[in-house]
Amino acid sequence: MSAEREHALALLGGMIRIRHFEEKCAELYGQSKIRGFLHLYVGQEAVAVGVMQALGSDDAIVATYREHGHALARGIDAGAVMAEMYGKREGTSHGRGGSMHIFDVSARFYGGNAIVGGGLPLAVGLALADKLQKRPRVTVCFFGEGAIAEGEFHESLNLAALWKLPVLFLCENNLYAMGTALARSESETNLCVKAASYELPAWSVDGMDVRAVEDAARRAVVAVRGDGPLFLEARTYRFRAHSMFDAQLYRAKSEVEEWKKRDPIPSFAAQLRAEGLLDDESLAGLEAAADAEVARAVEFAEAGTWEPVEQLTRHVYCERDEP
């Protein structure tokens, strides 16, 4: 297989994998296997998959409560992610965190943060540590457009720009923060204009086009590694409810349908077909592989074990000896 084709199929497969995984999650939520809040990424897969292509294993990721896609795209084992959603010991966070708090230090995946805007200062700090230790690493910080209204956004972008820290601020603009449309949340809806006011480069990319995202992210990561922070807006859309308890009173069905026409998976598949890089068989192969992986993940999670209740307060304090 050509490297080009291989990469294209990896991108497509990466998105399909996330989609299947999350559709399974929704089903498992209905069965009460997964509880609490569950925020699906359906529709936005091109962003996580595209961006992760640009990162090396030393680079760090900070994400939000809507982070299953990012975790999977980062290469974190689907079984461990699923086990986390079950609350099992075998989960990425040994079950303590659940859907909103996937952590995997070995993948430099620093959560999973359920406070909107809460991850931005963290990313600034990770980047500061890299800069002071002269490590050529990048920290990518994902957040929604809703977070832009928070003071943390403002303080963090300023710090990063002021100190020229290697942070890629990756804003997934899916147009809504729960039920609040961007125009009801920001006086200036051009997010790049906002970001540029901190004196950092600010770009926008079509978040429904995985190749465009990858390309922009690659350029962005190079820029960040050299010169400091950059803001990248990925224009995308969430196809499903904000979480599992959302009557979606705030948007018209027709709007959702309109965006679904730009679903990143079929669009990319069609493009690859047109380029002769994809046929029915290979698509079926990707689907089947995803199904199999998801099935294995569920099996793994089901077979997982519960943390004994006696361990309730474990990890409240760090168990390392040495700081």
Binding site: R35, I115, G179, T180, L249
Partner: protein
Amino acid sequence: MSDAAAKTRMISFRDAYREGLREALLRDPRVFLMGEDVGRYGGTYAVSRGLLDEFGPERIRDAPLSESAFVGAGIGAAIGGLRPIVEIMTVNFSLLALDQILNSAATFSHMSGGQVCVPLVIRMATGAGRQLAAQHSHSLEGWYAHIPGIKVLAPGTLEDARGMLASALADPNPVLIFEHARLYPIEGELAADAGAVEIEHARLRRRGGDVSLVCYGGTLDKTLAAAETLAAQGIEADVLDLRVLRPLDEAAILETVSRTHRLVIVDEGWRSGSLAAEVAARVAEHAFYELDAPIRRVCSAEVPIPYPKHLEDAALPQPDAIVAAVREGMAAHA
């Protein structure tokens, strides 16, 4: 009880809160509701659903994710002559607005020598029990009850869920109302003509005589359940619902203890530094000679609330633990 009060209907906490909001909005044109997703989304917990259609976007005001600014704006609007009800989606996010609450809302009256009153109501959901994990399960009522200059309410009954808002709005001070999120869907009987309730006193929800159980908000139903279990075992408990967490109704606390001589406090806050500690301290100061046995507290374990149900259940005060604490206390020598 009057005939009218005898007429009741089934209603959920959610709907009782909504009735209180509607009434307040209908009664006083100065009242408006402001917060994240209170309007078009219908409220995260659907408490304000329908109000946008009825009252329009000026009075059911969706705010951006800017907790500090919109709480501060509520303070300013209150000073400017309006009667804002600010909703902070949950107590977990209220930390972002705590500077405005403590350093502005709570201080203005005093530090202006009484010139600036802040008749603001802040509502927020609180508590755990829904597997929302470490950042979405706080019970910080006890923290807020530490702040001079504000009042703190914790409805644990439908009557209070329905009626505390009106009284909070009638108060010239900043009043915080903590709505336990676990209770929203719970239904029960409420008087057809339920309305404003007083917000000065604790209420004895059950009269026993063998032991005093003191609780509030999300621990009231659990404590009453424990009291039933205890009754079946021959132990009759007083159940005192604090209702008002600041200022505390110290007299009511001392009264029950002086009858039962034994005290167990139930509080969903983390044990160390919980509101339960304050209740214990008051009794150890002012009703020491009434006590026949050590005070006991049933609080949350000192752990960021874990996601899995079995661990979350173990972290929170449960009826079993209350029963066990009471039984240990009864066994203690008099």
